[in-house]
Subunit: 421 residues, 2 copies
């Protein structure tokens, strides 16, 4: 496909999405919920069709010698398709954020001013190989009254095409306007470039995937972006920590699911407890298969481990690897987080009241924890339900982006002839 | 100054701002308020110095034959300096948004999760010739704990340099960290380009000025932008409107202050009342010196007026000119607003209950009015106090951007050893 055709496809879909968004904004909740149930049902009914398409992707991926991890992300099974369907059904139970009056007040001149929650409009999602993102994103956007333009990784193009064909048909059958859920079908990378500058029809772009993808989008998009996902998260164990609690939190933050953005990547330990704490925690981490890398002070205590370099401090391993640094006090820990953190999730373990307060105050991140695992930064764990990602930027949304974060508001003003004097 | 020096200046100031922002985030409210009072006092005390600098700018502007309107925007007088000082004093009375706990809840596992309001960090303001923006923006950013990097128009460089020298010194004397208020002193346009891509140290860019400036920033910035200001606002007069009320609202929306973004630019009139309403309103508008331009149907009633072209529908006159279109029903009015509006402020005048509801629901704008003038879209009118602009985009902030809109939040989580299972 040549450059002009790519542009034409994206723009045509953009126009359709924009038209659909106007209708979606006033679509009743029960129509949206019925559509979500239809989508879930049709996904399950047409499992074979999806798996056949997925096999084409899997074959091509194996020929390209993609890594085992990537192949696993790409793979669809009846069980995984069922999970996607269940995800859609779970959305039905969530309250519809659209139309909520967030607040309303009356001015001295009698004007009644309200803030009404409305959809963002058209959301662009740029993501990598995981086809489940297709369903998750489409479902959340529909629930929140947004049109969505999906641009998944080329490895998953056949899977995604089948999925979107099925769910968009199911949605339309329930009364959702055509164009509400669309996939960019060309695998030409130029399509991403067109989306990045499509201010005319995209209200927001949400990249989901690795650091490289996110940086490309942030550095080149003129459409407003919500940056998600990269989490170089730290746990700082203070000299006044309960060391048993600290051990449990560190092991949980590192090993409970190492491949996700809210997992811990670097452990910071106050020097006064390092000699006692590091052997305790190292044993538990090594039992769980974690490779440890440490600063010089750490390696004087854990003599068998590799050295951690500056690169380690900056790395989101997403794997069973942990960097460890001994710090002389909380301030050094905070400086380290300031220099290497990605403003995602940061934790302190301490029983010192003032330090807990100071850490909460000083650390600039979407989520700052006292005496709990960083793994809680998650829409379900916070009580919001499904999320479209974890925002690590400051504008609009921070932390888990649930249904409310996919909306904006407008002021509605009721007067009886007021004019300004 | 060559390109490298420009980049060096912006980056150096960016780094200083970033450092200042960390300290500003925890600066007590009383220090910030004392600084605002100091800034106001020193501005007034050093009025002569500011006016001397302003005269250099005015001389240069006169030599360049700038328009009368631009010269007036640039001019500083003792009275205008006093007004700027009063603006700073007014900020003292506003509540400090920083540190507010927006909400807090407890999860079934005992985790207590709160949303705490925090500053955005470093705010970049790119604006045109009005030196009062320098003081307004610096004051609002300081009140909200943000560092600010100001980039005003080159015509005002001497005025702005004098003002920032004075207010930053006054702020520092009160305990505000160095680097909290900075001006880009090179007038090289390259400085704007550097700011547009300065994701490393700018958390948000706010352009203030004409449509050209705003489009340049939106189309080229990779730093998150809050788009402000362009207002192609409409009033739709329904066939069930109280025509006396409609006349008052239309005259107010057009003439009370025609040069601002919330003034009406196009009047839409239901055809069933056009013959009665247009002569009524035209007489009042012409008395106020408004030039009228109309569609063909309008000109059959107001036979003396010029024709309005497609270009008129798209123009924000910011002047005593009004385009008028007769529409066959509310739906046509909504379509016209959809096609030509800038999502700023839109109004309907009607006594029909269902149409009032439908208009509020269907029109996508920051502020949608029933039976009131569009001129109310303003921080003070909404009860927020001072504002940094009117956001016409959907992400983060919409409508008047007061102190709260210059903040973000972080989740603070209190645990007692919770781990994820």
């Amino acid at each position: 496909m040549n450059k002009m055709n790519v542009q034409a496809e994206v723009q045509l879909k953009g126009q359709k999405a924009k038209e659909a968004a106007r209708k979606l904004a006033s679509l009743p909740t029960d129509v949206k919920n019925k559509a979500l149930l239809n989508m879930a049902k049709l996904l399950e009914e047409r499992t074979e069709e999806i798996i056949a398409a997925n096999e084409i992707d899997m074959d091509a991926a194996r020929k390209k010698n993609l890594s085992k991890a990537l192949l696993d992300r790409l793979l669809l099974t009846p069980e995984r398709i069922s999970d996607m369907a269940e995800g859609l059904r779970a959305l039905v139970a969530l309250p519809d954020p659209v139309g909520e009056i967030i607040s309303m007040w009356t001015r001295p001149n009698g004007l009644q001013i309200g803030k009404m929650r409305v959809p963002l409009g058209v959301v662009g999602i740029i993501y990598e190989a995981r086809p489940n993102v297709t369903v998750d994103a489409a479902g959340l956007c529909l629930k929140t009254g947004n049109a969505v333009i999906l641009r998944g990784g080329s490895e998953a193009i056949n899977s995604n095409t089948a999925i979107v064909r099925i769910i968009s048909q199911a949605a339309e059958n329930a009364g959702v306007p055509e164009g509400a859920i669309q996939l960019i079908e060309t695998t030409d990378r130029e399509a991403v470039n067109v989306m990045l500058k499509a201010n005319d029809f995209l209200d927001v772009l949400i990249p989901r995937g690795g650091a490289g993808l996110i940086q490309t989008v942030v550095n080149n998009a003129t459409v407003p972006v919500i940056e998600t996902g990269v989490g170089n998260c730290h746990v700082y164990v203070d000299d006044e920590a309960d060391l048993e609690m600290a051990t449990d939190i560190v092991v949980n933050a590192k090993t409970q699911r190492p491949g996700v953005c809210n997992a811990m990547e670097t452990l910071l330990v106050h020097e006064a407890v390092a000699e006692k704490f590091l052997p305790m925690v190292a044993r538990r981490l090594e039992e769980a298969g974690v490779e440890l890398r440490g600063c010089e002070k750490t390696r004087r205590i854990l003599t068998q481990i590799q050295v951690a370099t500056k690169e380690d401090w900056a790395t989101e391993y997403l794997d069973l690897i942990l960097a460890i640094k001994v710090v002389k006090d909380m301030q050094e820990a905070i400086e380290h987080i300031h220099n290497y953190g990605t403003k995602h999730s940061e934790a302190i373990v301490t029983n010192n009241y003032q330090r807990a307060r100071d850490f909460l105050q000083s650390v600039d991140a979407a989520a700052v924890y006292v005496n709990a695992s960083t793994r809680f930064t998650d829409g379900y764990q916070y009580g919001f339900g499904a999320e479209i990602g974890i925002s690590t930027q400051k504008l609009h949304a921070r932390g888990p982006m649930g249904p409310k974060e996919l909306t904006t508001f407008k002021y509605i003003i009721f007067g009886n002839g007021q004019i300004r004097t």
